[in-house]
Symmetry: C2
Subunit: 492 residues, 2 copies
């Protein structure tokens, strides 16, 4: 894949001076159109070998365009804080919103390629990591991003010359480190590993663009021109060529029996028993979260359920038992403007806790396949792919040591009516009931289908759903606490 980038491509100075002004003007125009339209983000990867002038390209792009609308991110070894999150966390944080260009100097490719080149991981693991990346980029594209991946390449000789030249000049000497020379010794291995990584991730929709880095003018002009072409094509043609997709099966259960209906909502606990068990489990939970191994993990609890199912009450019974400094509740309402400018999972990634913490999501990323599906806020293709994207998201959490619990709180339609009416008549509960709640109630059956699909498609071996019969609040709360304690006990 690198042969075309070892030909000694170059651009003479006069060509450069003739072409750059027009290119800059056109790039600026395109950038302002991008900013004005705010329809999609541009994710620009500048990856490649050491000494290939990646930073210089990034600097030039910032010079050519309006840097106020460019977000540049450099990625070195992950920080302590970053190591406590899933691998992709810091890249999610760096994603540009719609209307902006995000330049990634170094990227999600560097770490796995380096690990493989150093022999720390094998090919199976590299392929697995590249697969994650492939799905991540596909998600970005499906969410509307323009993804451009540039690989800066130097032949072995060219790299050696480049490093020597940088070292020879007192002004640039600092840019060459021992690490660069160590990497150079691995050139052949690095090349082979990179080629493997590129092979797995060069797709029809996000192809790699390999650029020879021997001549800086050639390199920068190539990146600039391709960026312009792609940006212009996308701006001028907002509905680009299409791939057709098949509709998902609408038949879920031909005998009308489903998971929700089969829940035994008559399960009950009397008050005395409830208070005894509440005390016991809250005590146990307090101890578990103080366990010395707890600092190696974190806990993410997801609460979903129909309106008035008792999510708030369930959450409070957990927080009561945990040191307030280690616990946080994230209530999920409609996304903010900032959040709407990002892929839908972005606003959940940003909240992922460091180790030793408990994070409770009061509603969650499952909104995508519940309210967004039912209300038609996203297309069928969007929510169909969301199941897989959510499973990938949760797999990454699990892999990084997160203990993930997902509670579905269920009540009957009659019980919901009773609670709605109680909320309307009880003065201090009136804030809890809105017109929207009544509207959602009318779509009970449509929601039921969506809920069953969700439970079926996202209850996995790494993150199973716990169905909580909440008709009796006492029973529901104890089941939540008990499930949480058992999972913590198993994990610690």
């Amino acid at each position: 894949m690198f042969e075309s980038a070892e030909l000694g491509h170059r651009i003479e100075k006069d060509v450069w001076e003739r072409e750059v002004p027009a290119l800059r003007e056109a790039l600026l125009d395109a950038q302002y159109d991008l900013v004005a339209a705010k329809k999609f983000p541009v994710v620009l990867l500048i990856a490649g070998v050491d000494g290939a002038g990646k930073s210089a390209v990034v600097a030039t792009l910032n010079e050519w365009m309006d840097p106020r609308h460019i977000q540049t991110h450099g990625f070195d070894d992950p920080s302590e804080e970053e190591l406590e999150r899933p691998y992709m966390w810091r890249y999610w944080r760096a994603l540009p919103p719609k209307g902006k260009v995000g330049i990634m100097d170094g990227s999600w490719y560097s770490w796995p390629i380096l690990q493989r080149a150093n022999g720390k991981i094998g090919n199976d693991r590299l392929d697995h990591d590249m697969e994650l990346v492939r799905r991540f980029e596909q998600m970005l594209i499906d969410e509307g991003a323009l993804v451009l991946k540039f690989w800066m390449h130097l032949s072995k000789d060219a790299q050696k010359r480049r490093l020597k030249k940088l070292e020879g000049d007192p002004k640039t000497r600092w840019r060459v480190t021992d690490r660069d020379w160590r990497h150079f010794k691995l050139y052949d291995t690095f090349r082979e590993v990179s080629e493997r990584a590129l092979r797995h991730t060069s797709t029809g929709q996000a192809p790699w663009i390999v650029v020879e880095a021997t001549d800086a003018r050639y390199q920068k002009l190539t990146v600039g021109k391709i960026l312009l072409e792609q940006l212009r094509a996308r701006l001028d043609n907002p509905a680009p060529r299409a791939i057709s997709v098949q509709a998902p099966p609408s038949i879920t259960s031909i005998d009308g029996v489903n998971l929700l209906q089969r829940m035994d909502l008559t399960k009950k606990l009397d008050k005395a028993q409830y208070e005894k068990e509440l005390e016991a489990f809250q005590g146990e939970l307090a101890l578990l979260t103080r366990h010395k191994n707890f600092r190696k993990h974190n806990v993410v609890c997801v609460f979903e359920g129909v309106d008035a199912a008792g999510k708030g009450g369930g959450i409070r019974r957990i927080t009561q038992a945990i040191d307030a400094r280690m616990c946080r509740i994230v209530p999920i309402a409609a996304p903010t403007e900032e959040e709407r400018a990002q892929p839908y999972l972005w606003r959940f990634w940003r909240h992922l806790p460091v180790r030793g913490k408990v994070e409770i999501f009061d509603r969650s990323w499952y909104g995508r396949v519940l309210v967004e599906r039912v209300e038609g806020f996203c297309s069928e293709a969007d929510w169909m792919r969301a199941y897989g994207e959510i499973n990938d998201f949760e797999a990454q959490m699990a892999q990084s040591g997160t203990i993930l619990l997902k509670f579905w709180l269920a009540i009957s339609k009659e019980e919901q009516l009773r609670r709605f009416e109680e909320r309307q008549t009880t003065r201090f509960k009136r804030f809890k009931i809105t017109d929207e709640d009544w509207r959602n109630r009318e779509k009970w059956d449509t929601y039921e289908t969506a809920i069953c699909d969700m439970l079926e498609r996202t209850s996995t071996e790494i993150a199973p759903w716990t169905l909580v019969e909440s008709e009796d609040k006492f029973h529901g709360r104890i089941k939540i606490l008990k499930t949480l304690c058992r999972r913590l006990e198993d994990a610690l």
Copy 2:
């Protein structure tokens, strides 16, 4: 993912008797529309746990529809012949053509899941295999297939009951083997591994449909109804919902320099030297193909190049040196009707040789990104995704022990003209030149772009291209022989 399939779903006999006749009629109608339209194939996977009545479902579908237009394939342990090919080979062979329904009883999932459940492979490897499968299914969908994946599920109790019942009845006893009971002991492991496999491969476009298998009527009616719904939707709406894709960068080299131009076509060999080297390399090749380790491999040579570049001559110099029984030339012309009814790689998969053989493709799967691209026989999205699909294809060959060589034979435009004219004036060479050759020649520059893209995107660490300067035939032929000998020597 299996919770919804452990609820004891069932369909009463009267419902069954009422619904089946109408379903059969509708299925038959849909099937005949499918046969008449010949627009797409249906790939129907019946997978799942042992004893879940997979064969009975397959039998019922064959009974309900016209079995002449259904191709049913059962897959047990791979045969000797199959083991000598890449893992996916036997599944490629079993793909139904457009207009037909292909039912896969057992499938590409069985082997990796079983291997993982038995502890023979780890999770990384399982994930890697599932990724291959995911890409394969995506390719089928992109090529227009309707892919339906049914997973037949039994709870642990239900499976035990089922096996016992089959064993208890003299008529069905033979269907339960020791292997079934051994698998049953692994139920929990098998369930977890299956869930992992399903999680990785349940995509928005090819979602798994999990069906409870406790009640045969429920199971069959569910499969039948979903098949009908999906078939009808696709037949009635030939241009289903679409996902937009971005255009590939059209800029490849801003300084006009490319791989082809940089080839040194002045390389020459005089006749005496040629004859000496020809004898030496052909001798070496003859010995290498008789090497005892050669039986562990096979060789696939791909010959591509502009018209009159000397492919035939190069190929003959190889075949002269090899026992005719172990060597086969596959000339690739326009696809046959049978081949056009399949994904474009199908006609190459079918030719993959067993071990100990040399297979020479005179033109190849690269037609997709050359002639099909240039002539507009496929869409931009099609040839853009083809690079990755081809790389995956070649990776599978390499993994199964194939030594793959890809030769690009280059001559100058002037030399081509000279050879064309020679062919027209030399009586015994006239069959070699057609109007099409002249038409292709007019598109020299367009082809050059396509060729450079191809070389860049498909020259990989597992299957690099060899560029052969063929202006001088002697030089070209010797380079081919020498490259082949060196690769064989390295591999044996």
